[in-house]
Protein backbone atom coordinates (compact mmCIF):
# COMPACT_ATOMS: atom_id res chain seq x y z
CA UNK A 1 0.00 0.00 0.00
CA UNK A 2 1.18 3.45 -0.99
CA UNK A 3 0.77 6.10 1.67
CA UNK A 4 2.10 9.20 -0.11
CA UNK A 5 -0.27 12.12 -0.67
CA UNK A 6 -1.22 12.31 -4.33
CA UNK A 7 -1.48 15.89 -5.53
CA UNK A 8 -2.45 17.26 -8.90
CA UNK A 9 -1.88 20.84 -10.02
CA UNK A 10 -4.28 22.89 -12.11
CA UNK A 11 -2.52 26.10 -13.12
CA UNK A 12 -1.88 27.83 -16.40
CA UNK A 13 1.60 28.97 -15.34
CA UNK A 14 4.19 26.47 -16.50
CA UNK A 15 6.74 28.05 -14.18
CA UNK A 16 4.59 27.46 -11.13
CA UNK A 17 4.09 23.85 -12.14
CA UNK A 18 7.83 23.44 -12.64
CA UNK A 19 8.52 25.02 -9.30
CA UNK A 20 6.06 22.84 -7.42
CA UNK A 21 7.33 19.69 -9.07
CA UNK A 22 10.89 20.50 -8.06
CA UNK A 23 9.74 21.44 -4.59
CA UNK A 24 8.18 18.05 -3.97
CA UNK A 25 10.51 15.93 -6.07
CA UNK A 26 12.40 14.73 -3.01
CA UNK A 27 9.41 14.50 -0.72
CA UNK A 28 8.44 11.08 0.59
CA UNK A 29 5.11 12.39 1.81
CA UNK A 30 3.81 14.35 -1.17
CA UNK A 31 3.81 13.25 -4.81
CA UNK A 32 2.78 15.45 -7.71
CA UNK A 33 1.09 12.94 -9.97
CA UNK A 34 -0.22 15.19 -12.74
CA UNK A 35 -0.60 18.77 -13.80
CA UNK A 36 -3.08 20.57 -16.03
CA UNK A 37 -3.07 24.04 -17.52
CA UNK A 38 -6.84 24.46 -17.64
CA UNK A 39 -9.98 23.31 -15.87
CA UNK A 40 -11.30 21.48 -18.90
CA UNK A 41 -8.08 19.48 -19.21
CA UNK A 42 -8.43 18.45 -15.59
CA UNK A 43 -12.07 17.47 -15.88
CA UNK A 44 -11.25 15.39 -18.95
CA UNK A 45 -9.35 12.91 -16.72
CA UNK A 46 -10.45 9.30 -16.84
CA UNK A 47 -10.50 8.74 -13.11
CA UNK A 48 -10.39 10.94 -10.06
CA UNK A 49 -10.06 8.14 -7.51
CA UNK A 50 -6.32 8.37 -7.08
CA UNK A 51 -6.30 12.06 -6.23
CA UNK A 52 -5.97 13.27 -2.65
CA UNK A 53 -5.62 16.98 -3.24
CA UNK A 54 -5.87 19.54 -6.03
CA UNK A 55 -3.70 22.65 -6.02
CA UNK A 56 -5.99 24.98 -7.91
CA UNK A 57 -5.12 28.31 -9.47
CA UNK A 58 -7.93 30.79 -8.89
CA UNK A 59 -7.58 32.43 -12.29
CA UNK A 60 -7.69 29.92 -15.08
CA UNK A 61 -8.16 30.65 -18.76
CA UNK A 62 -11.42 28.75 -19.13
CA UNK A 63 -13.19 28.83 -15.75
CA UNK A 64 -12.97 30.75 -12.52
CA UNK A 65 -11.59 28.90 -9.55
CA UNK A 66 -14.74 29.09 -7.49
CA UNK A 67 -16.77 27.24 -10.09
CA UNK A 68 -14.01 24.66 -10.52
CA UNK A 69 -13.97 24.12 -6.77
CA UNK A 70 -17.74 23.67 -6.66
CA UNK A 71 -17.62 21.11 -9.45
CA UNK A 72 -14.79 19.14 -7.87
CA UNK A 73 -16.43 19.00 -4.45
CA UNK A 74 -19.75 18.00 -5.97
CA UNK A 75 -18.41 15.20 -8.12
CA UNK A 76 -15.49 14.08 -5.94
CA UNK A 77 -16.04 15.13 -2.35
CA UNK A 78 -13.04 13.09 -1.19
CA UNK A 79 -10.66 15.43 -3.02
CA UNK A 80 -9.28 18.32 -0.99
CA UNK A 81 -8.97 21.59 -2.87
CA UNK A 82 -6.29 24.15 -2.09
CA UNK A 83 -6.75 27.46 -3.85
CA UNK A 84 -3.69 29.35 -5.11
CA UNK A 85 -3.51 32.90 -6.36
CA UNK A 86 -1.09 35.75 -6.77
CA UNK A 87 -3.37 38.13 -4.92
CA UNK A 88 -5.29 37.84 -1.71
CA UNK A 89 -8.82 39.09 -2.36
CA UNK A 90 -11.01 38.69 0.64
CA UNK A 91 -14.23 38.02 -1.21
CA UNK A 92 -12.64 35.32 -3.33
CA UNK A 93 -11.01 33.69 -0.32
CA UNK A 94 -14.36 33.60 1.46
CA UNK A 95 -16.21 32.18 -1.47
CA UNK A 96 -13.59 29.50 -1.91
CA UNK A 97 -13.84 28.36 1.68
CA UNK A 98 -17.63 28.54 1.59
CA UNK A 99 -17.63 26.25 -1.40
CA UNK A 100 -15.53 23.57 0.15
CA UNK A 101 -11.91 24.58 -0.40
CA UNK A 102 -9.51 23.50 2.32
CA UNK A 103 -7.46 26.66 2.16
CA UNK A 104 -5.97 29.50 0.22
CA UNK A 105 -2.30 30.02 -0.58
CA UNK A 106 -0.52 32.96 -2.05
CA UNK A 107 1.90 31.99 -4.78
CA UNK A 108 4.40 34.22 -3.07
CA UNK A 109 4.27 31.87 -0.08
CA UNK A 110 7.50 30.27 0.97
CA UNK A 111 8.25 26.70 0.09
CA UNK A 112 7.79 25.61 3.69
CA UNK A 113 4.33 27.11 3.73
CA UNK A 114 3.33 25.08 0.72
CA UNK A 115 4.42 21.87 2.36
CA UNK A 116 2.82 22.73 5.67
CA UNK A 117 -0.50 23.69 4.10
CA UNK A 118 -0.80 20.64 1.88
CA UNK A 119 -0.10 18.26 4.74
CA UNK A 120 -2.52 19.95 7.10
CA UNK A 121 -5.26 20.27 4.51
CA UNK A 122 -5.14 16.52 4.15
CA UNK A 123 -5.77 16.24 7.88
CA UNK A 124 -9.00 18.15 7.44
CA UNK A 125 -7.77 21.53 8.54
CA UNK A 126 -8.53 24.82 6.84
CA UNK A 127 -5.16 26.36 6.02
CA UNK A 128 -3.94 29.72 4.82
CA UNK A 129 -0.53 31.02 3.91
CA UNK A 130 0.73 33.65 6.34
CA UNK A 131 -0.34 36.78 4.51
CA UNK A 132 -3.78 35.37 3.87
CA UNK A 133 -4.26 34.54 7.54
CA UNK A 134 -4.07 38.19 8.45
CA UNK A 135 -6.76 39.04 5.93
CA UNK A 136 -9.01 36.23 7.06
CA UNK A 137 -8.79 37.37 10.66
CA UNK A 138 -10.20 40.73 9.62
CA UNK A 139 -13.35 39.19 8.21
CA UNK A 140 -16.53 40.44 9.81
CA UNK A 141 -20.08 39.17 9.74
CA UNK A 142 -20.66 41.69 7.00
CA UNK A 143 -18.50 39.69 4.66
CA UNK A 144 -20.13 36.41 5.45
CA UNK A 145 -23.35 37.16 3.63
CA UNK A 146 -23.49 35.22 0.44
CA UNK A 147 -22.45 36.94 -2.73
CA UNK A 148 -24.98 35.92 -5.39
CA UNK A 149 -23.42 34.25 -8.39
CA UNK A 150 -23.89 35.18 -12.03
CA UNK A 151 -25.62 32.82 -14.42
CA UNK A 152 -24.03 32.20 -17.80
CA UNK A 153 -26.24 34.70 -19.56
CA UNK A 154 -25.88 37.28 -16.84
CA UNK A 155 -22.11 37.02 -17.06
CA UNK A 156 -22.17 37.57 -20.80
CA UNK A 157 -24.33 40.61 -20.40
CA UNK A 158 -22.26 42.00 -17.55
CA UNK A 159 -19.08 41.72 -19.60
CA UNK A 160 -20.70 43.52 -22.52
CA UNK A 161 -21.96 46.21 -20.18
CA UNK A 162 -18.41 46.63 -18.90
CA UNK A 163 -17.35 47.27 -22.47
CA UNK A 164 -19.77 50.17 -22.59
CA UNK A 165 -22.32 48.45 -24.79
CA UNK A 166 -25.88 49.71 -24.63
CA UNK A 167 -28.93 47.52 -24.08
CA UNK A 168 -29.68 47.58 -27.81
CA UNK A 169 -26.11 46.72 -28.73
CA UNK A 170 -26.05 43.82 -26.29
CA UNK A 171 -29.34 42.57 -27.73
CA UNK A 172 -27.88 42.68 -31.24
CA UNK A 173 -24.68 40.93 -30.22
CA UNK A 174 -26.41 38.12 -28.35
CA UNK A 175 -29.33 37.85 -30.77
CA UNK A 176 -31.84 38.65 -28.06
CA UNK A 177 -34.77 40.97 -27.81
CA UNK A 178 -34.03 44.40 -26.42
CA UNK A 179 -36.65 43.60 -23.77
CA UNK A 180 -34.89 40.42 -22.71
CA UNK A 181 -31.64 42.25 -22.13
CA UNK A 182 -33.58 44.86 -20.19
CA UNK A 183 -34.96 42.12 -17.96
CA UNK A 184 -31.51 40.67 -17.37
CA UNK A 185 -30.15 44.10 -16.48
CA UNK A 186 -32.94 44.60 -13.98
CA UNK A 187 -32.38 41.19 -12.46
CA UNK A 188 -28.70 41.97 -12.07
CA UNK A 189 -29.37 45.28 -10.31
CA UNK A 190 -31.84 43.58 -7.97
CA UNK A 191 -29.60 40.60 -7.33
CA UNK A 192 -26.67 42.71 -6.18
CA UNK A 193 -28.77 45.45 -4.66
CA UNK A 194 -27.13 48.18 -6.72
CA UNK A 195 -28.69 51.20 -8.31
CA UNK A 196 -27.16 51.37 -11.77
CA UNK A 197 -24.83 49.79 -14.27
CA UNK A 198 -21.71 51.57 -13.08
CA UNK A 199 -22.12 50.25 -9.57
CA UNK A 200 -22.90 46.80 -10.89
CA UNK A 201 -19.67 46.61 -12.88
CA UNK A 202 -17.66 47.89 -9.96
CA UNK A 203 -19.16 45.27 -7.68
CA UNK A 204 -18.64 42.50 -10.20
CA UNK A 205 -14.99 43.37 -10.69
CA UNK A 206 -14.29 43.68 -6.97
CA UNK A 207 -15.82 40.31 -6.29
CA UNK A 208 -14.22 38.45 -9.13
CA UNK A 209 -17.52 37.73 -10.83
CA UNK A 210 -16.31 38.62 -14.30
Amino acid sequence: MNSTIKVVIVDDHPLIIEGLQILFSNSEIITITDSYSSASEFFARDSFDAIDLVLLDVFLPDMNGIDVCIEIKKAQPHIKVLAMSSQAERSIILQMIRNGASGYLLKSAGLAEFKYCIENALNGKIVFSDEVSNLVNQITSNDLQNIPRLTKREKEITILMKQGKSTQQIADILFLSYLTVQTHRRNLLNKFKVKNGVELINYAINNGLI
Copy 2:
Protein backbone atom coordinates in the same frame (compact mmCIF):
# COMPACT_ATOMS: atom_id res chain seq x y z
CA MET B 1 36.00 34.78 -22.04
CA ASN B 2 32.52 33.77 -20.91
CA SER B 3 29.76 34.31 -23.44
CA THR B 4 26.70 33.10 -21.53
CA ILE B 5 23.92 35.59 -20.84
CA LYS B 6 23.93 36.48 -17.16
CA VAL B 7 20.42 36.90 -15.83
CA VAL B 8 19.22 37.87 -12.36
CA ILE B 9 15.66 37.46 -11.13
CA VAL B 10 13.80 39.92 -8.94
CA ASP B 11 10.54 38.30 -7.84
CA ASP B 12 8.89 37.66 -4.50
CA HIS B 13 7.50 34.29 -5.60
CA PRO B 14 9.91 31.52 -4.58
CA LEU B 15 8.11 29.14 -6.90
CA ILE B 16 8.73 31.31 -9.91
CA ILE B 17 12.40 31.59 -9.02
CA GLU B 18 12.64 27.83 -8.61
CA GLY B 19 10.90 27.31 -11.91
CA LEU B 20 13.15 29.69 -13.80
CA GLN B 21 16.30 28.22 -12.29
CA ILE B 22 15.26 24.74 -13.34
CA LEU B 23 14.26 25.99 -16.76
CA PHE B 24 17.71 27.39 -17.47
CA SER B 25 19.79 24.90 -15.50
CA ASN B 26 20.77 23.04 -18.64
CA SER B 27 21.05 26.06 -20.88
CA GLU B 28 24.45 26.87 -22.29
CA ILE B 29 23.28 30.29 -23.41
CA ILE B 30 21.52 31.63 -20.32
CA THR B 31 22.75 31.52 -16.74
CA ILE B 32 20.71 32.59 -13.73
CA THR B 33 23.41 34.09 -11.54
CA ASP B 34 21.32 35.46 -8.67
CA SER B 35 17.80 35.97 -7.45
CA TYR B 36 16.20 38.51 -5.13
CA SER B 37 12.78 38.65 -3.52
CA SER B 38 12.56 42.43 -3.33
CA ALA B 39 13.81 45.53 -5.10
CA SER B 40 15.84 46.72 -2.13
CA GLU B 41 17.68 43.40 -1.94
CA PHE B 42 18.59 43.76 -5.56
CA PHE B 43 19.77 47.35 -5.28
CA ALA B 44 21.93 46.35 -2.30
CA ARG B 45 24.23 44.40 -4.64
CA ASP B 46 27.88 45.34 -4.66
CA SER B 47 28.30 45.42 -8.38
CA PHE B 48 26.00 45.46 -11.36
CA ASP B 49 28.65 45.04 -14.03
CA ALA B 50 28.23 41.33 -14.49
CA ILE B 51 24.51 41.51 -15.21
CA ASP B 52 23.17 41.30 -18.73
CA LEU B 53 19.47 41.14 -18.00
CA VAL B 54 17.02 41.46 -15.11
CA LEU B 55 13.80 39.46 -15.04
CA LEU B 56 11.65 41.81 -13.04
CA ASP B 57 8.33 41.10 -11.37
CA VAL B 58 5.98 44.04 -11.84
CA PHE B 59 4.44 43.70 -8.38
CA LEU B 60 7.06 43.63 -5.67
CA PRO B 61 6.46 44.07 -1.97
CA ASP B 62 8.57 47.22 -1.63
CA MET B 63 8.43 49.05 -4.98
CA ASN B 64 6.40 49.00 -8.14
CA GLY B 65 8.06 47.58 -11.21
CA ILE B 66 7.94 50.76 -13.24
CA ASP B 67 9.99 52.66 -10.69
CA VAL B 68 12.45 49.79 -10.37
CA CYS B 69 12.86 49.78 -14.13
CA ILE B 70 13.48 53.51 -14.21
CA GLU B 71 16.15 53.23 -11.53
CA ILE B 72 17.91 50.34 -13.19
CA LYS B 73 18.00 52.02 -16.58
CA LYS B 74 19.22 55.27 -15.07
CA ALA B 75 22.05 53.76 -13.04
CA GLN B 76 22.94 50.84 -15.29
CA PRO B 77 21.78 51.47 -18.82
CA HIS B 78 23.64 48.40 -20.10
CA ILE B 79 21.24 46.11 -18.23
CA LYS B 80 18.22 44.91 -20.16
CA VAL B 81 15.01 44.72 -18.16
CA LEU B 82 12.29 42.19 -18.90
CA ALA B 83 9.06 42.77 -17.01
CA MET B 84 7.08 39.80 -15.73
CA SER B 85 3.56 39.78 -14.38
CA SER B 86 0.60 37.49 -13.90
CA GLN B 87 -1.71 39.91 -15.65
CA ALA B 88 -1.44 41.85 -18.85
CA GLU B 89 -2.48 45.41 -18.12
CA ARG B 90 -2.12 47.57 -21.15
CA SER B 91 -1.26 50.72 -19.31
CA ILE B 92 1.47 49.03 -17.29
CA ILE B 93 2.91 47.38 -20.37
CA LEU B 94 3.05 50.72 -22.14
CA GLN B 95 4.62 52.50 -19.22
CA MET B 96 7.25 49.79 -18.84
CA ILE B 97 8.28 50.01 -22.47
CA ARG B 98 8.27 53.80 -22.34
CA ASN B 99 10.67 53.63 -19.42
CA GLY B 100 13.20 51.43 -21.08
CA ALA B 101 12.07 47.86 -20.50
CA SER B 102 12.94 45.44 -23.28
CA GLY B 103 9.70 43.54 -23.03
CA TYR B 104 6.84 42.17 -21.03
CA LEU B 105 6.19 38.53 -20.26
CA LEU B 106 3.19 36.87 -18.71
CA LYS B 107 4.13 34.35 -16.07
CA SER B 108 1.70 32.02 -17.75
CA ALA B 109 3.97 32.07 -20.77
CA GLY B 110 5.37 28.79 -21.96
CA LEU B 111 8.94 27.84 -21.21
CA ALA B 112 9.93 28.30 -24.83
CA GLU B 113 8.59 31.84 -24.75
CA PHE B 114 10.80 32.68 -21.81
CA LYS B 115 13.89 31.46 -23.59
CA TYR B 116 12.99 33.14 -26.83
CA CYS B 117 12.25 36.47 -25.17
CA ILE B 118 15.40 36.60 -23.08
CA GLU B 119 17.61 35.83 -26.03
CA ASN B 120 15.96 38.36 -28.29
CA ALA B 121 15.88 41.06 -25.64
CA LEU B 122 19.64 40.76 -25.45
CA ASN B 123 19.80 41.43 -29.16
CA GLY B 124 18.06 44.71 -28.61
CA LYS B 125 14.58 43.68 -29.59
CA ILE B 126 11.40 44.56 -27.75
CA VAL B 127 9.73 41.27 -26.92
CA PHE B 128 6.35 40.18 -25.63
CA SER B 129 4.94 36.82 -24.71
CA ASP B 130 2.18 35.66 -27.03
CA GLU B 131 -0.83 36.86 -25.10
CA VAL B 132 0.76 40.22 -24.50
CA SER B 133 1.50 40.60 -28.19
CA ASN B 134 -2.18 40.45 -28.97
CA LEU B 135 -2.85 43.20 -26.49
CA VAL B 136 -0.03 45.32 -27.80
CA ASN B 137 -1.26 44.88 -31.34
CA GLN B 138 -4.63 46.20 -30.31
CA ILE B 139 -3.03 49.39 -29.21
CA THR B 140 -4.33 51.94 -31.61
CA SER B 141 -3.43 55.51 -32.18
CA ASN B 142 -6.00 56.04 -29.48
CA ASP B 143 -3.75 54.48 -26.86
CA LEU B 144 -0.43 55.67 -28.19
CA GLN B 145 -1.14 59.24 -27.45
CA ASN B 146 -0.65 59.88 -23.80
CA ILE B 147 -3.52 58.89 -21.60
CA PRO B 148 -5.20 62.11 -20.49
CA ARG B 149 -4.95 62.58 -16.78
CA LEU B 150 -7.79 63.44 -14.45
CA THR B 151 -7.99 66.80 -12.76
CA LYS B 152 -8.70 66.87 -9.05
CA ARG B 153 -12.38 67.55 -9.53
CA GLU B 154 -12.72 65.01 -12.28
CA LYS B 155 -11.15 62.36 -10.08
CA GLU B 156 -13.58 63.10 -7.26
CA ILE B 157 -16.50 62.81 -9.63
CA THR B 158 -15.19 59.65 -11.25
CA ILE B 159 -14.83 57.96 -7.87
CA LEU B 160 -18.36 58.92 -6.89
CA MET B 161 -19.63 57.63 -10.23
CA LYS B 162 -17.85 54.36 -9.53
CA GLN B 163 -19.82 54.15 -6.30
CA GLY B 164 -23.01 54.30 -8.30
CA LYS B 165 -23.90 57.86 -7.37
CA SER B 166 -26.20 59.75 -9.73
CA THR B 167 -25.45 63.20 -11.10
CA GLN B 168 -27.77 64.74 -8.52
CA GLN B 169 -26.18 62.81 -5.66
CA ILE B 170 -22.71 63.82 -6.75
CA ALA B 171 -23.84 67.44 -6.94
CA ASP B 172 -25.20 67.21 -3.39
CA ILE B 173 -22.07 65.55 -2.03
CA LEU B 174 -19.66 68.04 -3.61
CA PHE B 175 -21.94 71.08 -3.07
CA LEU B 176 -22.09 71.75 -6.78
CA SER B 177 -24.87 72.51 -9.21
CA TYR B 178 -26.43 69.54 -10.94
CA LEU B 179 -25.48 71.27 -14.17
CA THR B 180 -21.84 71.55 -13.21
CA VAL B 181 -21.59 67.85 -12.53
CA GLN B 182 -23.28 67.24 -15.84
CA THR B 183 -20.58 69.30 -17.54
CA HIS B 184 -17.81 67.40 -15.80
CA ARG B 185 -19.36 64.09 -16.79
CA ARG B 186 -19.55 65.22 -20.39
CA ASN B 187 -15.95 66.41 -20.34
CA LEU B 188 -14.85 63.05 -18.97
CA LEU B 189 -16.66 61.11 -21.68
CA ASN B 190 -15.15 63.35 -24.36
CA LYS B 191 -11.68 63.26 -22.83
CA PHE B 192 -11.47 59.49 -22.85
CA LYS B 193 -13.58 59.03 -25.97
CA VAL B 194 -16.02 56.70 -24.28
CA LYS B 195 -19.76 56.46 -24.70
CA ASN B 196 -21.08 56.11 -21.17
CA GLY B 197 -20.27 55.98 -17.50
CA VAL B 198 -19.69 52.25 -17.34
CA GLU B 199 -17.04 52.43 -20.01
CA LEU B 200 -15.48 55.43 -18.33
CA ILE B 201 -15.09 53.66 -15.01
CA ASN B 202 -13.70 50.59 -16.70
CA TYR B 203 -11.15 52.69 -18.55
CA ALA B 204 -10.18 54.60 -15.44
CA ILE B 205 -9.62 51.43 -13.44
CA ASN B 206 -7.65 49.73 -16.20
CA ASN B 207 -5.37 52.70 -16.54
CA GLY B 208 -4.83 53.29 -12.87
CA LEU B 209 -6.49 56.70 -12.94
CA ILE B 210 -8.54 56.16 -9.78
